[in-house]
Symmetry: C2
């Protein structure tokens, strides 16, 4: 059994944290790339402006780390950032909080199924993966907004 579990190990907790923080650094650069007056106003196809998407990422990130860690699912309590500077300040605070709290998640909680925010039934790692994927997905949309504004987005592969 031990050999089996080891044999199929593909990604460690440390890898997941590194991978997420790499993506978060890229998202930060995308936020920075938006002109202040477009971040919360510009969009394509009737979608949300990128600043609103970034607030969504913030509403998920640390609350998910805390929920997976503790089993208590609390909505993000901060006020929504309304400027680029506010967004980046909260972003950087969450970067530190994730680095501090992620390694303290009890190991069994990654595989345990829980109802995230009382709604989404997934394993701990599934919920974290969802947050990362959701960030990649919407950030890709931010790339289109930047291109539509004539701005070169940061390289996707730089993390």
């Amino acid at each position: 059994m031990v050999a089996d579990t080891m044999a199929v190990n593909a990604l460690s907790v440390e890898d997941v944290l590194k991978h997420w923080q790499g993506h978060r650094r890229l998202t930060r650069r995308v936020i920075e790339a938006f002109p202040e007056d477009k971040l919360f106003t510009f969009s394509v196809g009737g979608m949300r402006p990128f600043g609103e998407m970034a607030n969504e990422f913030i509403g998920m990130a640390v609350p998910i780390v805390d929920g997976v860690a503790s089993g208590r699912w609390e909505e993000y309590a901060g006020t929504k950032a309304a400027t680029k500077a506010e967004l980046l300040a909260v972003w950087d605070r969450q970067t530190r909080e994730i680095d501090e709290r992620f390694p303290a998640i009890p190991v069994h909680r990654f595989a345990e199924v829980d109802k995230a925010f009382g709604q989404w039934e997934m394993t701990g790692i599934g919920t974290i993966q969802y947050a990362i994927d959701n960030e990649i997905h919407h950030r890709g949309q931010g790339y289109v907004y930047l291109r539509a504004l004539g701005i070169e987005p940061p390289h996707f592969w730089e993390r």
Copy 2:
């Protein structure tokens, strides 16, 4: 050491395959959602049409599975799909090929650093993760194209 390795196990090989195929099912639905005459022509901000992005995913998927498995990195040899039907046919063939070949990747290759296609130095799992992230990223751009065309994209959370 054994206990340590187990303790930090977050995602198994089986999980990674399931996760990827779930995303691939969603990407298939995005391809399907495009009108035939827009799939290879429509774009926003001077970016590539979604059909070209889908051809990129195809060029990466099975060649990466094969490269991680064998250490031989061969560019995708098929001709580029030029219609929706061609794209979906190759997509479905690759779905079967990935299901067959992924579980046969030698376990040590996931953690081993290799130079994918002679160019990108990453672990096996890192290269696979890159392919998945790249697909999520560009598919998110496809969502903007669909919205700009007045078409409701499939739900992101349905896999």
